[in-house]
Amino acid sequence: MSIVFSGQAGQGLQTLEAILTRMFKRSGCNVFSYSEYMSRIRGGNNSTQVRISSRRVFCYTRRIDIFVPLHQDAMERFHDRITPETVIMGERSFIDKRYLDGHHPVLEVPINDLAREAGGPVYANTIVLGILAGLFYVDKGLMDDEIRMILSGLGEERLQKNLAAAATGYERSKGLLKPGQASVSIERTDEVKHEILTDGINVVGLGGLAGGCTFVSAYPMSPSTGVLVFFTKKAEGSGVVVEQAEDEISAINMAIGSWYAGGRGLVTTSGGGYALMVEALSLAGCIESPLVIHLGQRPGPATGLPTRTEQADLNFALYSGHGEFPRVILAPGTHEQGFSLMRHAFYLADKYQVPVFVLTDQYFLERRYNIPDMNLDTVYDQHFMIKTDRDYRRYALTESGVSPRGIPGFGEGRVRVDSDEHTEDGFITESFSVRTDMVNKRLRKLDGLRKEAIAPELFGPGDYRNLVVCWGSSLHAVQEGLDMLGRADDTAILHFSQVYPLHPSASDFLEKAHRKIIVESNATSQFARLIRSETGIVFDDKILKFSGLPLMPEDICESLSDMLEKKETTHGRV
């Protein structure tokens, strides 16, 4: 069941989303929600999709089962998503005339009048909440609990008015649906009630904490700011130093400085902010500093679409920085991976003394759904740094390329790091032989990193004919899209949560496929090009989306359907 609310910024859509998802989850439904919104504080048109299901739901869909307009312009951007099956519910004056032709299921509720009676237009969202709770047979006590939980900060008087408004809506829901108009009975599961309901921001933050992060410096930029806010809120309990820097250049130099002094630094940013950080990425490469960079992608170039989503900064993460040095790029596809890969990023950064990217995007960070648990058993709690002795050499040449990392104030040695080419002791040098040794030493670390690379994950039949390849946040849309298509017999999915360096099994998986299709949220199939440059393997088809909206299962289903049928026609087998 897909419910979409559409209104203006400032109409309380976020509050509605928060209460509804918590309420439905606690009633035993699986939930998913995602909001698409404009880069403004008031007005415009924003919408929120809430999916409720007896099965797990992980992604944004084009399909809308119930549409709730909360403003007179609320339907303008949705005509292509409203079908004759979509139930339109709400204030008559907000419903576009074309849907009042008797051929569309419409549930008129005088929301404006009810809101006025409840105390003003701000209660419209609470009335809608009450109606939906009633329609889907949510216990009223549970609804009231969640309203209290989320709105407790409003003060007693406004809280009571909201509870009353919700009760009005709840009453109104009775008899609203004619028999057969839409099915609203969703099978509940007890286990779901106690599951974790969260967005990507929190899993990234939690993964950072689990990785032993002790220092966060950042400059606010959508969509990465939530991670900064997460650590700020948790700073007192977790002992993490958090600083909003004057700019991204400062933020990344702070994070590197913190690692030097024994902290475990994280920066969180988006493409434009990362652009300012690039010189310091190269610094981390040269002084062999560990560093974790959370790069939450949004569409560029330049300011692009500040509140929308895209996967177009892979090349940037991969090729940024002057000179040559190893790096790692992780790209979580699920909440569980968001948590485990952030933790893993700290492990790899510390062990190999390299920058590690965790590449997410606006969609990954802001979508919300329930998961059974987070695996805390393998919490990473290992420091690779050593206590130095008097003849300590920061850049001692080793077979693995990794030199034991000391910090000032712990041991007898001196810890000298230098952005100039340096000797094993960390002194500036212009010796050509030392230079050659140091470049080789730094690049040798890539061997170990390749050995520890995370293998791509295969979903579907092992004897696949068609292989759909995706990375990062696109996974769930591809999974649901393939389900819709019903090609589980001959088509499999290969998802990469580590996009660089590639695990050696990548070639094996790809070579086995007769037909290789890449799915990415960008215009130039950056990951396909990366695979080609690393393995020589070329894709047959591409499904690319770069409108700013997330990939949806319908995009995948329709494109795959066209491609696979076309191919088979060409071969004359249909």
Binding site: N253, G263, R416
Partner: protein
């Protein structure tokens, strides 16, 4: 030989007669006289000839990027408050490339010392104007002579209510050592702008010129009076030397961090708190 000297001979990259030699000596003397344990002294520098100073002392150092000295220094201090952190670089590094960080480091007020070798020229890149180059100075790039007003770091620092602002002259080793000692022992951000003759690329602002164009503030001067300090910083004619402004009432950045409210330990001694993590995860269940 002091604890900050190397046992072996070192190759120093400066020109003979460079003001940097005098500053190096003053810095080392200050640390020796303060009897600071070199195991906890960290130098942070950027790029340029001044930024090489830490190479010539037996200390920990972080020689990072041009202009980015202060963010790294701030974070090092915030990550281990037991370290003595000295950010040392040239005028181009601190006031040009790093100008934004200069302002914000003053606002944050971490307990670090900021030593700036101010030779009024870009020497390592062969003689172009720096932010502090005097008007009329002719260079290979500013061929008609510099037209901009020189950057006045002392006035800017006082305008931003920096907690310690001093100016020294490299030619006067004793006084410079004393000023650096005051800066290092000061709790909070301490700027020491040191006039440094460049014998190769600045034939105008020489040892003799600085001698003629500076004077020391005497004992009757009260550095706690901000308006008086600002007048001193902007008065025409000779430059005052010594501690020009002092505000001991400012809160210190790393002392205000919530991360240290219940835990004194430096970051390297901290481990993941499983209880906190589990509580956070459980808070997402209800």
């Amino acid at each position: 030989m002091g604890v900050y000297d190397f046992e072996h001979a070192i190759d120093i990259a400066w020109c003979p007669g460079c003001g940097n030699f005098r500053i190096l000596k003053s810095v080392k003397d200050a640390l020796e006289e303060l009897e600071l344990d070199p195991r906890i002294v960290v130098f942070v520098s950027g790029i340029g000839q001044a930024a090489k100073t830490p190479q010539y002392m037996d200390v920990h150092y972080f020689n990072g990027l041009h202009g980015r000295t202060l963010p790294a220094a701030t974070a090092i201090k915030a990550s281990n408050r037991g370290l003595t952190v000295i950010a040392e670089s040239g005028d181009g590094d601190m006031y040009g490339e790093g100008g934004n960080h200069f302002m914000h480091a003053i606002r944050r007020n971490p307990d670090i010392t900021n030593i700036v070798h101010n030779n009024m020229v870009y020497a390592l890149t062969k003689g172009q104007a720096s932010p502090t180059t005097r008007q009329g100075f002719v260079t290979p790039v500013q061929t008609q002579g510099v037209t901009e007003e020189p950057f006045n770091p002392v006035a800017v620092a006082i305008a931003l209510d920096a907690s310690f602002v001093a100016r020294a002259f490299a030619g006067d080793a004793r006084q410079t050592t004393d000023i650096i000692k005051k800066a290092v022992t000061h709790k909070g951000y301490a700027l020491v702008d040191i006039f440094q003759p460049c014998v190769t690329y600045n034939k105008v602002n020489t040892y003799a010129w600085f001698k003629e164009n500076t004077y020391y503030l005497d004992d009757t001067y009260d550095p706690s009076d901000r308006e008086a300090a600002f007048r001193k910083a902007t008065e025409p004619g000779r430059f005052p030397l010594g501690v020009i402004y002092l505000n001991r009432n400012k809160s210190v950045f790393e002392e205000t961090l919530i991360a240290y409210r219940h835990d004194d330990r430096p970051l390297y001694q901290r481990t993941v708190d499983m209880g906190v993590l589990k509580d956070l995860v459980d808070s997402m269940r209800t």
